[in-house]
């Protein structure tokens, strides 16, 4: 019974890993740049939802919209200020610059919000508690799962079924050809960053229902998102979603048997799969 319970909990948290990873993989797929600061943006998203609640009294379920909008703006800004100048530069420059953003955001959060953790008291989602047989699903877990699945599907639809999505995919496949077809690739890049970071804005709002937020809150999620993206294959949205769920389940199952080795289980899965199949589960490059 315990095992079924942890698998269910694993799928529920895994769905949020998926949403975070989809944002990361989308940015990589188009710009070929891995955003090392992704976890830090998630932490900012959590703070946005927290302050929407503590200052304006908005429940985190409404905070989803605020988080998405603010983080989309942050993504757009990050692109125009920094990333735009890195296209075509060496991998060292690209990796180190988003790493610099990570360090800066971490410091900014400590300076602006202080080192103590903050939690939303009594969110709407927290009032619900489902008991299915002996399996317990809490309101925040359910809200997180439904929200993450909904927005992951929306992003997938946006990319695969709309004209904007076609432009994004075309830019990811061949920037030069896309530009020749009349696509404004820079605008597509900026849009990709906005969409990618709105994913973490949404995920941040979903997380504050049950997790307190502190300046290091995003680190673990960020690392898990790297693993999920690499596992699913860099650039593959479906791959990242599946990998997120796999990692969520693996982490919870490992935590049941050896709590201190939960992260090691994730790392182990990443290393084994990447070493056998360096391009990831569904990756092509």
């Amino acid at each position: 019974m315990d095992l079924v319970q942890v698998i269910v909990s694993g799928i529920l948290i895994g769905s949020i890993y998926s949403l975070v990873s989809v944002g990361l993989t989308l940015i990589f797929g188009v710009l070929n740049i891995i955003n090392f600061a992704h976890g830090s943006y998630l932490m900012i998203g959590m703070y946005v939802a927290y302050y929407a609640w503590s200052v304006a009294g908005l429940d985190p379920l409404i905070g989803i919209v605020v988080g998405a909008v603010v983080l989309a703006a942050a993504g757009w800004l990050t692109y125009w200020l920094v990333i735009r100048r890195l296209i075509g530069k060496s991998p060292l420059a690209q990796i180190i610059s988003t790493f610099g953003i990570l360090v800066a955001l971490q410091g900014l959060a400590q300076v602006a919000f202080g080192p103590n953790d903050r939690a939303v008291a009594n969110p709407v989602a927290g009032r619900l508690n489902l008991n299915i047989g002996q399996i317990v699903v809490t309101g925040p877990q359910l809200a997180g799962f439904l929200g993450a699945v909904l927005f992951t599907c929306l992003v997938a639809l946006l990319i695969n079924r709309t004209e904007v999505g076609t432009a994004i995919r075309a830019t990811g496949e061949d920037r030069g050809a896309a530009a020749l077809m009349g696509i404004n690739v820079r605008r597509v890049d900026a849009l990709t960053w906005a969409i990618g970071l709105s994913c973490v804005g949404i995920a941040g709002a979903l997380l504050v229902n049950s997790y307190p937020v502190d300046p290091n809150a995003g680190v673990t999620f960020g690392v898990i998102a790297f693993f999920a993206v690499a596992l699913g294959g860099f650039g593959s949205i479906v791959g990242a979603s599946i990998a997120g769920i796999i990692l969520g389940v693996a982490q919870n199952v490992a935590a049941l048997y050896a709590p201190q080795y939960a992260l090691v289980a994730l790392v182990g899965i990443y290393l084994v799969i990447v070493l056998i199949r360096p391009q990831g589960l569904l990756g092509t490059r």
Binding site: I101, Q106, G107, P115, L263, V264
Partner: protein
């Protein structure tokens, strides 16, 4: 700063036409030598000029982290394999020293052991992980270092999360323990360590090996096609990097007489090492010196000033600096300073020439 001129000087020889080599080479070499001497003198007299516990602490930590940054440069800067997991080697060195000194060893004998353990770890990790390119490799290094952190954290014979301390012995060179009231011997030990490491790395990268490493960094397929054993070069780079980092870690443990996972194995330690190397200058010898001093001085200053270990102001400054440096001059502060030096030099030269021309024109009639 000026000493960094040695590296470009070496490159200039190959790129400048033969006729101008002699004069330019000797000029820049003389200046590089003078610069190196100046830096050395400043470093040698530093603990006597700024003789306060605060600056002693900064100096010791700065030299230790400069050494670790230099070691990172071998792997990340010259060979282009970006590692966010060098804390593993730092921790391996620190833990080896603490465990062996507790078992009654002389600290001097523990450094080679720690270095050997780190080198073996590095090669063992490198064998599978060097198949991975850029981002995959960088993420794998985080992964491996995190595993080590978790393993040590839950291993009670290594003190788990509460750490291990070194029993206090009589002060002296043999025990490598010195009074807290005057820790300058630690500073000179760290300075000598940096000097030896820089010498080793310089010997390694100035010749053929350095060219091979850079070739692997710039394009691995091209390097392999030209007959470079890319695989062997990367293993060499990780071994050298691990050895130097481990000795720095061992010295760090002797200075603190204590070690725990959050001090030496945490992701933040890996991040500090990368910051030192990249701020100062990736693929330079003396960049990490600038990076180390800047990082540690600012870290310690903000910690003292805001009386909290988590003020975050230092991180904010470094993060912004890193981004700016990558955008403006990916070569780091040392290249930026070098550029400022040449710019100033050119100005002086032009001024002299103009004055000579003016005086010449006056004398002519």
């Amino acid at each position: 700063m000026v000493a960094q001129g040695t590296a470009p000087a070496g490159e200039e020889v190959t790129s400048t036409p033969a006729s101008t080599v002699g004069s330019r080479f000797s000029g820049s070499r003389w200046r590089a030598g003078a610069g190196l001497g100046l830096v050395l003198v400043v470093l040698l007299i530093f603990p006597h000029v700024l003789a306060t516990p605060f600056w002693w602490n900064v100096g010791i930590l700065a030299m230790i982290f400069a050494t670790a940054g230099l070691a990172w440069n071998v792997l990340g800067g010259y060979a282009g394999q970006i590692s966010f997991g060098n804390a593993l080697f730092f921790g391996a060195g620190a833990y080896s020293t603490v465990v062996l000194v507790r078992a009654g060893w002389s600290p001097w004998l523990t450094f080679p052991v720690g270095a050997a353990i780190a080198a073996v770890l590095g090669v063992l990790i490198g064998i599978p992980c060097f198949r991975l390119r850029t981002h995959y490799f960088a993420i794998a290094t985080i992964a491996v270092a995190e595993i080590a952190d978790v393993v040590v954290n839950s291993n009670s014979s290594l003190g788990a999360s509460s750490g291990l301390n070194i029993p206090i012995k009589p002060y002296g060179l043999a025990t490598l323990q010195f009074s807290v009231l005057n820790p300058t011997p630690y500073y000179y030990a760290a300075l000598i360590l940096f000097g030896l490491a820089a010498l080793w790395v310089w010997v390694l990268v100035r010749g053929r090996t350095g060219a091979y490493l850079r070739a692997v960094r710039d394009s691995e397929p091209a390097a392999s096609a030209s007959g470079v054993h890319a695989w062997r070069m990367k293993l060499l780079a990780v071994a050298v990097s691990a050895i130097i980092t481990a000795v720095a870690g061992g010295l760090y443990a002797m200075y603190g007489l204590f070690v725990d996972p959050s001090l030496v194995l945490d992701l933040s330690v890996s991040i500090d090492i990368v910051l030192v190397a990249v701020l100062g200058g990736a693929a330079t010898l003396f960049g990490p010196l600038i990076g180390g001093w800047l990082l540690i001085a600012l870290q310690q200053y903000t910690r003292q000033e805001f009386s909290s270990s988590t003020s975050g102001l230092d991180l904010l400054i470094f993060g912004v600096l890193i981004v700016l440096i990558v955008l403006v001059e990916p070569g780091g502060l040392s290249v930026l300073l070098g550029r400022g030096w040449t710019w100033g030099d050119a100005k002086v030269q032009r001024f002299r020439q103009a004055r000579q021309a003016a005086s010449g024109a006056k004398e002519a009639p």
